[in-house]
C-alpha cells in the first residue's frame, strides 16, 4: 500500500470504478423491462406446468388479467368493480373495441390479434378461472394464454 509521506493526501484512481459502474448501468438498461404492474404481479403465485412454452410476442395486443387466490381480479383491474361476469365481459368488450379502433386509425391491415393473458394464482378455484374465461368468450375474444411457471421457484 503506497502512502504519501509528505502529507499531501493520496489520489484515488476513479477511472476503473467509473468504468465498472457504467458497465453495470449499461447491463441493467439493456435488461430492464418497464412492464406494467399487471403483467408481472408478484403477489400471484402461478402454478407449475412442465408443458408450458416460453413466452412469445406474436400477438398484436395483449390484455392481462391477474386472478388472486380468492378469485378477485388484481393489478390494474383492481380499480374497477368487476365483481360479476357481466361487468367483466362489458369491460373486456370495450377494451377490445378500443384496441381495434386504435389499430384501424393507425392503418394496420387485417384483423388485430388480441390475446387475453390469464395469470391465475395456483390456489384459485377452477370455477373462478372458468368464469373469467367465459367472460372473455362472451366478449368475443378467441385467443387466450394461461401463464404458468416452467419450473418451481
Amino acid at each position: 500500500m503506497s502512502g504519501n509521506a509528505s502529507g499531501e493526501g493520496c489520489d484515488v484512481n476513479l477511472t476503473p470504478l467509473l468504468d465498472l459502474v457504467l458497465q453495470l448501468i449499461m447491463f441493467f438498461m439493456i435488461t430492464v423491462n418497464f412492464v406494467r404492474i399487471d403483467q408481472f404481479d408478484d403477489a400471484i403465485r402461478l402454478p407449475v406446468s412442465t408443458n408450458a412454452t416460453p413466452l412469445d410476442n406474436t400477438a398484436d395486443e395483449y390484455i392481462f388479467l391477474n386472478l388472486d387466490g380468492e378469485g378477485k381480479l388484481v393489478g390494474s383491474l383492481a380499480n374497477f368493480t368487476l365483481d360479476t361476469p357481466g361487468k367483466l365481459r362489458t369491460h373486456l368488450f370495450r377494451e377490445k373495441q378500443d384496441i381495434e379502433r386504435t389499430a384501424s386509425k393507425r392503418g394496420l391491415p387485417g384483423p388485430t390479434k388480441v390475446v387475453v393473458v390469464l395469470r391465475a394464482d395456483q390456489n384459485v378455484r377452477y370455477s373462478k378461472v372458468w368464469e373469467v374465461l367465459e367472460s372473455c368468450k362472451n366478449a368475443t375474444f378467441i385467443h387466450w394464454q394461461l401463464r404458468v411457471m416452467t419450473k418451481a421457484a
Partner: protein
C-alpha cells in the same frame, strides 16, 4: 529547493483531465440503484395457448362483429375426445389426508364406453393416482389413431394448481389437444 515533480505525480495518479467527476459518479450510482431496484428477472414464466369457442350467436345488432378468418382457428371436433373427470374434496373437508381443493376421484371415459372408469381415489397418494392416470391415458393414446383430444372436466372447487397438474399428465401421455370444460354442477 526541490519542487515536487508534478509530472510524476500526474502519471502515478493516472489521467488527470482536470474535471471533477464526483457528481458524475454520484449520478451514476443513483442511476445504477434505480435500475437494480426495477430489475425483474422473469425467466421461469411460460404460457399455455388456448382458443375460445365463439359465444352463442345473438341477434346481430350491427355492432358486434367476429372476423370469419379468426373462427377458422377454433379447436377441433370433440367426437373422438377422451373424457377425464376430476372430482374434488369439498370445501372445508379433509378426506384421507387430502384437503379441500385437492382431487378426490379421477375418472376416465373413452367415447365408446358407457360409464366412467375410476382411475384414482383418495385411498392412495395423489402422485400414485396421477401415475395411474398417465398409464391409462398412454394406453388409450396408443390404442388408435385420432385420439389426440382430451376433454378435461374438473369440479368447481378444484384448485388451479391441480388442474394444471392433470393438464400436464394429459399432455405427457401424448394428447395434443386438451380442452377445458365448464365445471361440473355436482357438489364434488
Amino acid at each position: 529547493m526541490n519542487r515536487p515533480n508534478r509530472h510524476d505525480n500526474r502519471e502515478a495518479a493516472g489521467v488527470n483531465l482536470g474535471a471533477i467527476i464526483t457528481p458524475m459518479l454520484d449520478m451514476s450510482f443513483q442511476i445504477l440503484a434505480f435500475f437494480i431496484m426495477t430489475y425483474h428477472p422473469s425467466g421461469f414464466e411460460g404460457h399455455v395457448n388456448g382458443n375460445l369457442t365463439p359465444p352463442t350467436p345473438r341477434i346481430d345488432d350491427g355492432k358486434t362483429q367476429v372476423d370469419a378468418k379468426l373462427l377458422e382457428e377454433v379447436g377441433p371436433e370433440m367426437d373422438e375426445a377422451v373424457q377425464v373427470v376430476v372430482k374434488t374434496i369439498p370445501r372445508g373437508a379433509i378426506e384421507r389426508g387430502r384437503s379441500d381443493g385437492q382431487p378426490s376421484q379421477i375418472y376416465v371415459k373413452k367415447t365408446e364406453d358407457a360409464v366412467l372408469a375410476l382411475v384414482g381415489d383418495t385411498d392412495e397418494p395423489l402422485a400414485e393416482s396421477l401415475r395411474k392416470l398417465t398409464v391409462r391415458l398412454r394406453s388409450m393414446q396408443q390404442a388408435g389413431p385420432g385420439r389426440g383430444i382430451v376433454r378435461l372436466e374438473c369440479r368447481a372447487d378444484l384448485k388451479h394448481r391441480y388442474v394444471m397438474e392433470i393438464y400436464d399428465v394429459c399432455k405427457g401421455a401424448g394428447f395434443q389437444n386438451v380442452s377445458f370444460v365448464a365445471p361440473g354442477r355436482s357438489k364434488n
